[in-house]
Subunit: 241 residues, 2 copies
DNA sequence: GCAAAAGTGTTGTGTCTACACCCATGT
DNA sequence: ACATGGGTGTAGACACAACACTTTTGC
C-alpha cells in the first residue's frame, strides 16, 4: 500500500479553523391526531419566505447539544423537550449557497399535552403536507420521522410523545399519528405491559356524556430512552425457543 | 414564550468560520476469529505514543464522507471497504487539549478475506483488549461495535464482513466474532435463507484431510445495506398473526 | 334496556431455539 | 467401519394479530 503524505490528525500545532457549523432540529409533536414538525418562515435571504428547521450557528466552545438547546429555547421552552438525540451531520457541497457550512441535525420530541407559545414566524406543520423547505431540510424531516417510527417498535420512546398519565386509547392515538397506520389498542396495551414499559397509576378517567366504561390510567415506567427489544433475532443462547 | 434575540441561522452575510473539523473511522474486520479495529500509534503530541482511530482534518469544500475516505486511503485501500456509514459527531469541550475541534465518526467494515498492507504505525487490535486510546476515541469504538451488532440482527450487513463466497460454518464464525456469543450454524442458515439474504452459489467446498461432508457455498444476494426485519412489532395491520 | 367505550379471553399463525437425526466424505 | 463435519426434520416456546366476548358506565 502506498504511503502518501497525509494531513496529520491533531498535531501539536493548532489547525486552521474549519467550516461554519450549524445545528438544526426536527422537533416533532402529535397535535390534533397528526404528527407535526416545528418550522419557522425565513425572513431574509437566502431562501427568504421558505420554511426552515429551527437552529443556528454553533457558538465558540459550545457543545452541539448545548447549541441546539440554546437555539430551540427561542422557539419552545427547553423544559418542554421530552427527548433529544442526534440524527446526522450533513456536509453536502451545495447545502448553503454562500458559504461552506456543515449542520448537525437533532431529533427533538415534545409531549402532546404541552402547548408552547410560539413566535409569530413559527408554526407546527403536519408531516404529510409540508411546504417547500429551505436548504436541504426537506431530506432531514423524513430521517427524523423514520428514527421515531423505528424506535417506537423497539424502545420505550413513546414516553416522549405521551403526557404524564393517559388511557390506552389516548396512547393508541399517539402511535397511530406517529406510525401512520392503524394500531389496535388491545394489542398495544398487551405489548407495552408485557415489556414492562407501562404501569397503571391506579387512577381512572371518568367517561364522557355518552357513557362507556371508565378507562384506567397508565404511565411510562421510565422517562429515559431504553431499548426493550434488544435481540429480535440471533439472541445469545440459553433463553429457550 | 420569550423572544430573546437569536443568532439568525444562515443569513445572507457569510458567518464566521467554525471549529476545526476532523473525521474518524472505526474500521472493523474479523481476523483470526476475533473482531478487530484499525488503530495507528501517534508519533507527535498531543497523546504521543497512544493509539488512535484513523482520520484527519476536513479539507475546504470537502464532504465528510469524502474526507474519511481520503484519510483512510493512507491506511487501507478504499476499495477494500465493503461498508461505510456515519456514526455520530462528537463535540465534547475537552476532546482536544489545544483547539476547539469537532469530529464526525464513521463505521467502516472490511471483509475477512482481504489483508491490506498496513503502514508501520498501524495495526489491527482485538476489540476486547484495547490499549489506552487518544482523545475520546475509547468511547467511539464501542459505539461502532454496537451499531454493527444491532444491524447484524435486522439488516443484511453481514455481507460487509464476509468474503464473496463462504460456507455456513465460515459465516457462523464471523457472526460469533462480531456478536461475541455462540451462534448456531443451523439456525443462522435458516434465518438468512428465509429472509432471502443468502443464496447458494451451486459450488461446494471440498472437505479437508479429516473428511466430512463437503459444504455448500453461499453468497449474499445483495451487497448494499438493506433492512430485512423492518417491523419487529407494531406492524401495520393485514398480514396476520 | 340499550348504546358506547374499555378491557379480557382465546385462537391461530409465524418465527424462533434446541436438539435429534440423516448425509457425504476421508481414512 | 467409523470419525468428522454438513445439513434437515421436528418439537416446543413464545410473541404477536385478530376477533369474540365481557365489563362498566350514561341515558
Amino acid at each position: 500500500m502506498k504511503r502518501k503524505p497525509e494531513l496529520e490528525s491533531s498535531t501539536a500545532v493548532p489547525a486552521p479553523a474549519g467550516p461554519a457549523h450549524a445545528t438544526l432540529a426536527v422537533v416533532l409533536q402529535v397535535r390534533g391526531e397528526r404528527l407535526r414538525v416545528l418550522l419557522w418562515q425565513r425572513a431574509k435571504e437566502p431562501h427568504a419566505g421558505l420554511w426552515a428547521l429551527p437552529g443556528g450557528y454553533l457558538a465558540p466552545g459550545e457543545t452541539l447539544e448545548a447549541s441546539i438547546r440554546r437555539h430551540l429555547a427561542a422557539k419552545v421552552d427547553v423544559r418542554e423537550l421530552s427527548h433529544l438525540e442526534q440524527l446526522e451531520t450533513l456536509s453536502g457541497p451545495g447545502r448553503h449557497p454562500a458559504e461552506w457550512q456543515l449542520a448537525t441535525a437533532y431529533l427533538g420530541l415534545v409531549p402532546t399535552d404541552v402547548d408552547p407559545a410560539l413566535p409569530a414566524d413559527t408554526r407546527w406543520h403536519p408531516l404529510d403536507e409540508l411546504p417547500q423547505l429551505a436548504f436541504d431540510h426537506a431530506a432531514i424531516v423524513p430521517a427524523g420521522r423514520e428514527r421515531l417510527r423505528a424506535k417506537l417498535s423497539y424502545t420505550n420512546i413513546g414516553f416522549a410523545l405521551a403526557p404524564a398519565e393517559f388511557t390506552i386509547s389516548e396512547l393508541r392515538d399517539l402511535y397511530v399519528a406517529a406510525l401512520g397506520h392503524e394500531v389496535s389498542a388491545t394489542n398495544l396495551q398487551r405489548i407495552l405491559v408485557r415489556r414492562r414499559l407501562l404501569e397503571p397509576t391506579g387512577g381512572r378517567r371518568e367517561p364522557g356524556r355518552v357513557g362507556g366504561r371508565p378507562a384506567a390510567l397508565f404511565r411510562f415506567r421510565l422517562h429515559r430512552l431504553e431499548v426493550t427489544d434488544q435481540f429480535a433475532v440471533l439472541r445469545p443462547p440459553g433463553r429457550g425457543g
